[in-house]
């Protein structure tokens, strides 16, 4: 007696919905996630610590806290002219001052994505995925360009 089941017609779906499979997460995505997690936590910790130092007056700010209400309603160009502060990475020279100490955490948080891209760049390249590698490389260049301070604007 033939016990084979009758063949069913093949069902074509645009998206296959089935029982759960193990998560299909690529190697570069896992590496990216791990580094992002560390970087984000470090950046947030830096932000909280430096802000506490700033508001508790443990490091003298360039712009005194009590003078801030005079400046924060000005457009940025006017604020820079009034305080004599510079643009770009000039804040690095003021890193020991209470207000600019906060920029360590802010810059770290703004830079962690660049670090993640740098870290994963070799992975698709090693797997000979040159198009994806090129996209990651271009993004890294764009972010570095943005961070460099070369690009300028103002009122």
């Amino acid at each position: 007696m033939d016990m084979t089941l009758p063949q069913t017609a093949a069902i074509t779906l645009t998206e296959t919905v089935s029982a759960p499979k193990p998560p299909a997460v690529s190697e570069e995505q896992i590496v990216y996630a791990k580094l992002l997690d560390i970087g984000m936590k470090a950046g947030m910790a830096l932000l909280v610590v430096t802000f506490a130092i700033y508001v508790l007056g443990l490091a003298t700010p360039v712009v005194p806290l009590e003078d801030l209400p005079k400046y924060w309603s000005m457009p940025v160009g006017q604020y820079l002219a009034a305080t004599g502060l510079g643009t770009g990475w000039s804040w690095l020279g003021l890193i020991g001052r209470g207000d600019f100490m906060n920029f360590i955490g802010i810059a770290f948080l703004s830079g962690v994505t660049i670090l993640c891209y740098f870290r994963i760049l070799p992975i698709p390249f090693r797997n000979r995925e040159f198009l994806f590698s090129a996209i990651l490389l271009l993004e890294t260049v764009v972010l570095i360009l943005g961070a460099s301070g070369i690009l300028s604007a103002g009122h």
């Binding site: 645009t14 998206e15 296959t16 919905v17 089935s18 029982a19 759960p20 998560p23 299909a24 997460v25 995505q29 896992i30 990216y32 996630a33 791990k34 992002l36 997690d37 984000m40 947030m44 932000l47 909280v48 802000f51 700033y54 508001v55 007056g57 806290l65 009590e66 003078d67 209400p69 924060w72 309603s73 457009p75 940025v76 510079g86 643009t87 600019f100 906060n102 920029f103 802010i106 810059a107 948080l109 703004s110 830079g111 962690v112 994505t113 660049i114 995925e129 994806f132 996209i135 990651l136 993004e139 764009v142 972010l143 943005g146 301070g149 690009l151 300028s152 604007a153 103002g154 009122h155």
Partner: protein, 318 residues
């Protein structure tokens, strides 16, 4: 939990935080004599900003929107800070939220780096351009454009549909070449979904516009990312939401550097906002299961309507 109890809990949290912050200011003997033209000392505004950001963090999670889209029009409209600094802080708020969510979304496979990377590349280039244009334009023009955009978002939130698993007949050549596809395990339904996308060139073009707006207004752009990923390109809804959130960490990084380098970041505005909104988001996530999401979303729409109208009126000099 009823909305009434929810509101009471949020009010109580805010009150406790205000008292704590006020006590800290007094304990630290911070100067209180120098006040802004609006009558509050510097620390009063910092505390108010923290409290408002905390509240926005809760509402943003419950309303299913990013923090930046609420932060910029509300803080820009009702605080004495110049819009340049508010936009700088808004981008950092959106960036911090995206960075915090990113690792979990990526490692669970909800967000897709393959899907995000090509779109984020174009969006971050245009976000840099948008940030530069936004900082170069007169404030009233930016206010006017911001108000119009926020009111546009209200319309989008009101009418936009969502599709849990959109139908994608065939992946287009570009998305196939870039391997913009994946497997998504939906823990809620217990299903695995093989997904792919189509209309990639149109999606890329949309992300150029979205990036420009994100950079110009410091809004983050989840409100626009999700419909494009989900409705236009056909990614499953949860993949779209997660990938959109992750993309903000890339796109907002690009624009945030422009604001930082141009001096448009004030620590006293940015840091309380970031900490406040992140703490608020943590509370919001805990309340999410019990809140009436539909009602909160309506509240968010009304808040955006008011804030957008105020930005528009400020832009018109009214």
């Amino acid at each position: 939990m009823t909305l009434h109890r929810l509101a009471r809990l949020a009010s109580l949290s805010i009150l406790v935080l205000t008292l704590l912050a006020g006590g800290l200011a007094q304990a630290a003997d911070l100067p209180t004599e120098a006040t802004s033209p609006e009558g509050l000392p510097w620390w009063g505004w910092a505390v108010a900003l923290f409290v408002v950001s905390f509240g926005l963090g809760i509402v943003a999670v419950l309303g299913g929107v990013g923090g930046g889209v609420l932060f910029v029009p509300i803080v820009g409209g009702f605080f004495p800070f110049h819009l340049d600094f508010v936009r700088g802080a808004g981008l950092l708020v959106a960036l911090a939220g995206a960075l915090a969510a990113g690792p979990g979304l990526l490692s669970s496979g909800m967000a897709s780096l393959r899907l995000a990377a090509p779109l984020a590349l174009l969006a971050s280039i245009s976000a840099i351009a948008g940030a530069m244009i936004g900082l170069a334009l007169p404030t009233n023009v930016v206010q006017l454009a911001l108000g119009t955009t926020i009111l546009g978002i209200v319309v989008l939130m009101f009418f936009a549909k969502k599709s849990e698993y959109p139908e994608v007949g065939k992946a287009d050549n570009l998305s196939a070449a870039l391997k913009m596809n994946g497997v998504f395990n939906d823990a809620y339904s217990g299903k695995s979904v093989d997904w792919k996308v189509h209309r990639t060139p149109q999606g890329l073009a949309m992300f150029v516009v979205i990036g420009m707006m994100a950079g110009m207004f410091g809004l983050g752009a989840g409100w626009a990312n999700v419909p494009v990923l989900n409705l236009l390109m056909g990614a499953p809804l949860k993949v779209s939401v997660a990938t959109s959130k992750f993309m903000l960490s890339i796109v907002d990084t690009a624009a945030a550097w422009v604001y930082l380098n141009q001096g448009a970041v004030l620590a006293i505005i940015a840091v309380p906002s970031i900490i406040g909104i992140m703490l608020g988001s943590l509370i919001g996530v805990r309340l999410l299961k019990r809140a009436n999401a539909s009602l909160v979303r309506k509240v968010v729409i009304v808040m955006l309507l008011l804030a957008g109208s105020r930005a528009l009126l400020k832009g018109l000099g009214i």
